[in-house]
Homo-oligomer: 236 residues x 2
Amino acid sequence: MELEEFLEKGPEIFLPNLSIDLVIIGYEHKRLKCLLLKIGDRWALPGGYIKKDESVEDAVQSTLTQRTGLRNAHFTFLSVFGDHNRQFKSVFKDYFDKQGMEWRDDYWFNNRFVTLSYFSLVNIANTHPSVSHFDEAFGWFDFDDLPDMWMDHKSIVNTARQRLIQDIQKEQLTHHLLDAEFTMPELHQLHQVILNEDIDRSRFQKKMLASGFYERLPKVQKSTPGSNPYQYRVKV
Amino acid sequence: MELEEFLEKGPEIFLPNLSIDLVIIGYEHKRLKCLLLKIGDRWALPGGYIKKDESVEDAVQSTLTQRTGLRNAHFTFLSVFGDHNRQFKSVFKDYFDKQGMEWRDDYWFNNRFVTLSYFSLVNIANTHPSVSHFDEAFGWFDFDDLPDMWMDHKSIVNTARQRLIQDIQKEQLTHHLLDAEFTMPELHQLHQVILNEDIDRSRFQKKMLASGFYERLPKVQKSTPGSNPYQYRVKV
DNA sequence: TCAAAAGTGTTCCTGTTACACCCATGT
DNA sequence: ACATGGGTGTAACAGGAACACTTTTGA
């Protein structure tokens, strides 16, 4: 969609008071990362709007695809942010000014918005992020080293971080962050990073295997000393 | 708000595509109950809309107060229902026809709505439910004996039931369903009803006391055989 | 004094924790 | 051979489940 169309036809195409914010989480170099977009001199979560004739889930999926290039990425509902004075005005005004574009207070996206936030676990290596109307750049940021962010976006990210810690204790979902085939040491390392604490190797491995969620594949050769770990993948 | 104003001024007052649905849960005669409203020949969840200048939480609270008469009732977010063709038209058309009221397809509440559902645990004895614009009656229905309901409302109720079962294992929130002072046997009975299974008395009592959430009060006289149970209340 | 209700104690079992042991492999 | 990494085993412990014991009280 062209910017022109987005500005003028927005209210006809989208639900005018609902937005979607995505906390897209990746893992690289033993760090948890979060995909952010640069708008003006601050950063924002990727997001989008819901077309009047599409479901919320479809809107999330397509926003996710648009931003990461991934077709069937994982995502889960995070929470509703519904403050009465929640609006994007300050975010975009800055951008318009800098671009020398006409600014109008009655642009539809200056409405008050209720946002539905979702978080998504992706394999960074498979993503091809792209920029869109207002954002000039994207970046994967360390969870512990977030840049200046617009509005309440930083607190949304932190909500996601807390939620992730809770969820991985009950559910197997961290594999989304890794390649389709991975080793237990890799998974172990990842969990330690997410929980930010040491986990007993033995216990971790037994717990994972006992879940029945993964299947063991042949060992592969590797170049470091020590024995070769098995490869695993999620069962079909 | 008068019906006239609601029909005509709605789009100016409320966010035009967001609604709230409440699963208000009570407990009476050893049964879990749910508050429903009669619209036409079916039943619906109490709900409402969000004023443009109020937060989602405030809207939920005031809808809850309006429907139950309770000032500070418990409530928790349940889930988003965001199907693309989710609309109330069929619900209200029926009502308008029966009342001999003019029907217009372009009434604002015939829009497609995304609904935010919340569930609330209340003490039925303290409630004073009231009817509003479209609903002619209210009723507390057994969870296992729900009437014909509009749209996806029955599945929202069932989502709440499942969610309640999960939540009470981790959190102390069932006391909202009882009087401010209650006995362990009462709480025990309640949990058995919610989980629909027998719970060992001994284990239950120890778990509840170990939570540190309740404080013991003096025993009171009662007229049935057996010893008098202690009273408990939530710690301040 | 008997039966029902309520509170507490005891035993068993499962699953978590911490740590030890052994095997594989590159240097 | 040895250091490193990876897989599995074991003993100690905590918390849950099942059941038994005791006291209180109205009939």
